[in-house]
C-alpha cells in the first residue's frame, strides 16, 4: 500500500531531523543538570513572596549597578556601614570603628567574630581583596570607579588610554594591618568618604569568590541577614535567614522567595489574586485604582531618583552667551505640577532643587533652593527665551529612548513649552529605538539637542547628586558642563570635616549650577510598593527597595 510506505519515510525523516538537532544539544548537556526542581514555597510557611526582575549582570558586588541585583546584595551582605532604612544615615555595622585624623588616611577596624554564611570568618582581608578585585580593570567590574578615590587606583585601572595594561594588581592605598584592621589612603582629602562604604560595591567577599568563582555565582555567599538557599537563574531565588548573622537587622520572617516575572501586569494580577506578597513596581495603567484594588495596602514615598533633561553644553548653539536665559526660560515654561499629577498620578514630585527629598533638610535637600527657576511662569518664560535670542534655529527636540515609557511625559513637557511660546512646532520629542543606542549617542556626544537624563543615587549623600553630574569631567557629566567656581566649591566641600558646612558649600555650588541651567530638573521619582493581605510592615528604604528584614507574615 502506497500510503503505508510513505508513512515509513515520514517517520524516517523525523528521526533524522531529531537526531540532527539532538547533536547540537547533547554537546552541552555534559555539565550536570543543576538548578532543576528547586521547589517553590507554598503559602503559610512564613516566607515572603516578592516580585523580582532578572539581574542584568552576574551577582558580583562591584558588578551590580541596577536595582534588581542590588536587591539581593542588600539582603545577603552587611557592609562596614549600612544606611538606616528610615533616615538614610550611614551607621557602622561590620565596622567597629572608622577613624581618621587628616580626612585622607582612614583606619578601619572590622568587628571580630563576624562570619560569612558558609562559616568562614569576615576579616580585614575579605574587604581588601574584594576592593582590589573590583578595581582591577581586567575584571571588568561596572562599578570599578567607586574605588577611584583610593590611592593606587590608577595603576590597577589605567583610564587615560583604552589599551593600557594595569601596572599593578592591588591598590597601594589599601594595607592589611592585622586580622581585623586595615588602613585606607585616599588620593586627596575626602571627609565624607566613609559614608560611601554602605554602597554594595564595598561589600566583603569570602575566599570562595576567588577560588571557585563559578560556584560562587551559582549561589552567592555573604555576611548579611539572609543567605541564598537556592537560585534558579532567570526564574527565582529563595533566601532564608543567615544563622551566622549577628547584625542589628535580624529577619522577622522565615525567608524571602524572589520570583522573576515576565511582565509587571502579570505580577500585579498575581498580587491581586494572592499569589504574590510584595510588588515594588506598579504598572502605570493600574495606578489610578491601585488603592481600591489593594484596600490601601500601597505606599508611595520619595526615592533617591531625580528625572531631568540635559542640554548638550558641548554644542555652541546651546552654550553660547545669552543661551543661559533661554535654558532658564525653558525650565520655567514647564508645568511640573500638572504633569506629575496627570501623567504620573502623583508618583513623581515636582523638583525644587538638584538633589532628592530622601536626603532630608540636614542632608542638603531644599524645597526652596531652585525657587523661580523651576516655577511655572509661561509669560516670564517666553520673555526670557526671546531675550536670549530664542530657541536655536527656532525649535528644539527632547531625545528619549522609546523602549521605556518616556513618550508621554516628553510630549507633555514639549506641549507645555509650546503653549508658553505660542508655537505648537517649537518643541517635539525625538525617540531613539533602544536604550543602548540612546546611551551611545550621548556618550559619543552626538546629541545636538536636549535629551532625557536621570540620576539614581548610589548613597544618600548630597555629594552623589552633584559631583558626578556637574563637576568638570565628572563620571556622568553627559552635558559636559564646566564651571570653575562650581569645581572649587565641590573641592572645598569634600575637604570640609564638618558635615553642615560641607552641605552648605554643596548648596552654594547647586545655586551656581541652577543659574547656568545645564540640566533642567523635572521631578523626583517616588518608590512604590503594593502588598498582599498576607504580610504586614512593608516599608521601603531610601533606594526604593522593600526592607525585607522587617516584613512579617500574618497568621
Amino acid at each position: 500500500m502506497r500510503g503505508a510506505k510513505s508513512a515509513k519515510w515520514v517517520v524516517g525523516a523525523a528521526v533524522i531531523a531529531l537526531a540532527a538537532t539532538a547533536c547540537s544539544s547533547s554537546d552541552d548537556s555534559g555539565d550536570k543538570d543543576k538548578g532543576s526542581s528547586t521547589k517553590a514555597s507554598s503559602s503559610s510557611d512564613g516566607i515572603v513572596r516578592a516580585w523580582w526582575g532578572d539581574p542584568q549582570n552576574p551577582l558580583e558586588p562591584a558588578n551590580t549597578n541596577e536595582v534588581q541585583g542590588g536587591k539581593v546584595l542588600d539582603m545577603i551582605f552587611m557592609n562596614l556601614k549600612e544606611y538606616d532604612p528610615k533616615t538614610g544615615k550611614a551607621m557602622l555595622e561590620a565596622a567597629d570603628s572608622i577613624t581618621t585624623t587628616d580626612q585622607q588616611n582612614f583606619t578601619i577596624k572590622v568587628k571580630p567574630d563576624l562570619k560569612f554564611s558558609d562559616g568562614t570568618p569576615v576579616t580585614a582581608k575579605s574587604f581588601v581583596d574584594a576592593w582590589n578585585y573590583g578595581a582591577l580593570v581586567t575584571n571588568k567590574q561596572l562599578n570599578a570607579y567607586f574605588f577611584a578615590d583610593i590611592d593606587g587606583y590608577d595603576a590597577v585601572h589605567p583610564s587615560d588610554d583604552e589599551n593600557a595594561k594595569p601596572t599593578a594588581q592591588t591598590m597601594s592605598g589599601l594595607k592589611v594591618v592585622d586580622d581585623h584592621t586595615f588602613t585606607v589612603k585616599l588620593k586627596q582629602k575626602f571627609s565624607t568618604w566613609p559614608d560611601r562604604l554602605g554602597y554594595k560595591a564595598f561589600a566583603p567577599l569570602p575566599t570562595e569568590f576567588f577560588t571557585n568563582h563559578a560556584a560562587y555565582l551559582a549561589k552567592p555567599i555573604g555576611d548579611g541577614p539572609y543567605m541564598v538557599e537556592s537560585y534558579t537563574k532567570g526564574t527565582s531565588m529563595k533566601l532564608v535567614p543567615n544563622p551566622n548573622y549577628t547584625g542589628p537587622s535580624k529577619p522577622k520572617n522565615k525567608g524571602v522567595l524572589l520570583k522573576v516575572y515576565t511582565s509587571d501586569e502579570t505580577a500585579y494580577a498575581d498580587l491581586q489574586s494572592g499569589n504574590l506578597d510584595v510588588l515594588d513596581t506598579i504598572p502605570p495603567a493600574d495606578l489610578p485604582h491601585v488603592k481600591d484594588d489593594l484596600d490601601g495596602r500601597y505606599l508611595n514615598q520619595p526615592a533617591g531618583i531625580i528625572q531631568t533633561f540635559s542640554f548638550p553644553m558641548y554644542e555652541k548653539a546651546w552654550s553660547k552667551p545669552g543661551m543661559e536665559k533661554v535654558r532658564l526660560g525653558i525650565s520655567m515654561a514647564i508645568d511640573r505640577k500638572t504633569i506629575t499629577d496627570k501623567i504620573f498620578q502623583g508618583t513623581r514630585t515636582p523638583a525644587t532643587d538638584l538633589t532628592s527629598p530622601v536626603l532630608g533638610a540636614a542632608g542638603g535637600f531644599s524645597t526652596t533652593l531652585a525657587g523661580d527657576a523651576v516655577t511655572y511662569d509661561p509669560i516670564k518664560a517666553k520673555q526670557l527665551i526671546q531675550e536670549g535670542g530664542g530657541l536655536p534655529g527656532g525649535h528644539m527636540t527632547i531625545g528619549y529612548n522609546a523602549d521605556s515609557p518616556h513618550k508621554d511625559w516628553v510630549d507633555a513637557v514639549c506641549n507645555s513649552i509650546n503653549n508658553a511660546l505660542g508655537d505648537n512646532k517649537a518643541c517635539v520629542g525625538a525617540p531613539t529605538g533602544t536604550f543602548a543606542d540612546f546611551r551611545n549617542q550621548i556618550t559619543k556626544q552626538q546629541m545636538k539637542q536636549p535629551f532625557r537624563s536621570g540620576w539614581q543615587m548610589d548613597y544618600p549623600l548630597i555629594d552623589d547628586f552633584i559631583t558626578p553630574l556637574y563637576a568638570t569631567g565628572g563620571s556622568s557629566n553627559d552635558s559636559k558642563y564646566s564651571n570653575p567656581q562650581v569645581d572649587s566649591l565641590i573641592n572645598q566641600a569634600n575637604a570640609e570635616g564638618d558635615t553642615a558646612k560641607s552641605v552648605a558649600l554643596y548648596q552654594q555650588a547647586e545655586k551656581l549650577i541652577l543659574n547656568d541651567m545645564p540640566i533642567v530638573p523635572l521631578w523626583y521619582q517616588n518608590g512604590e510598593a503594593g502588598w498582599s493581605a498576607r504580610v504586614s510592615n512593608v516599608t521601603e528604604n531610601a533606594f526604593s527597595v522593600p526592607v525585607f528584614t522587617d516584613i512579617t507574615v500574618n497568621g
Binding site: 542584568q56 527565582s236 533602544t434
Partner: protein
Amino acid sequence: MGRYVIRRLLQMVPVFIGTTLLIFVMVYGLGDPVAAMFGDRTPDPATAAQIRHDLHLNDPLIQQYWIYMSGIFHGDFGKASTGQPVSELLKSAYPVTLKLTIVAFVIEAVIGVALGLFAGMRRGRFLDTGVLAITLLVVSIPTFVTGYVLQYLVGVKWGIVKPSVGDGAPFNQLIMPGLVLAGVSLAYVARLTRTSVAENSRADYLRTAVAKGLPRRRVITNHMLRNSLIPVVTFLGTDIGNLMAGALVTERIFNIHGVGYQVYQGIVHNNPPTVVGFVTVLVIVFLVANLLVDLLYAVLDPRIRYA
C-alpha cells in the same frame, strides 16, 4: 522518496547559514550594547574597552559571525548578558515553550477540526452560522486582549485558576495560556476544515462510498475527512513554528519563562548570542515541520508522489 528526503535535508544547510547570518547582522545593527550596561551613567572607558574586547566587538562583523559559528559547532552558543551560557537557557526555555505549543496545538487541532467538520456537514444551518460568527470574532481580537481579559476574569476576578504560570510550567496551568495562544489559529483551522469538508461532501467518490453502502462513520472518517484535511495539515504544520514564535506575547502575559521571554530579554539587552541561538533553533523547527508536512501529503493523498 528517499532521495527526496535527503535532498530536502541538504537544502536545510544553506537556509540555516543564511538565516543565522541575517539574524546576526540584524541584532548587530541594534548597536553597541556596552553603553546600556552602565545604565544612565557614562561608561568608564577602560572597563568598557575591556568588555568590548572580550565580546569581540572591535572585530569586523564577518569575523564576529565566524567566531560565533565556530563556537556553535563546538556546542558553545555563547553567553547571555547575565553571563549564563545560552545553551543552558535553550535547555530550560525550549521544553517550556514546547509544552505550551503542544497544549495549544492539541486544542487547535482537535477543537478546530471538530468545529469545522460539524459546520461543514450542516452547511447553512444554525451551527454553521454560529461557528462562522464565533471564529470571525476570535480572529478579529488581538491575542494580548484575549490574554489580559481572560487572565483578569478567570484568574483575578473569579479566582478559578492562578493568573500566572509557576515554576516549570505544569500542563494543567498551561490550559488557559494554550487556549489564548491557539485562539486565532483555531479559528482558521475551523474555517479551513469547514470549506474543505463542504466541498468534498459533494464529490463523486463520496457519493460512490455512500452508494456502495459503507457505514456513515466510515464514510466520514476515511473518505471525507482524510481528503479534506490536506489544506488543514499544511496550515497546522507551518503553524507549529508560528505557535512557538508567536508565544512571545502569550508568554509575557502569563509569566511563562520560555522562548519568547528569552528572545525578548536578548533583544532588550542587545545580546546577539541569545537572539541568534534561540532563533536558529526556531528556524530548525520551521524547516523540519515543513518537511514533515510535505511528506504527510503523500500519506493523505496517494496521488501525490515524490520522485
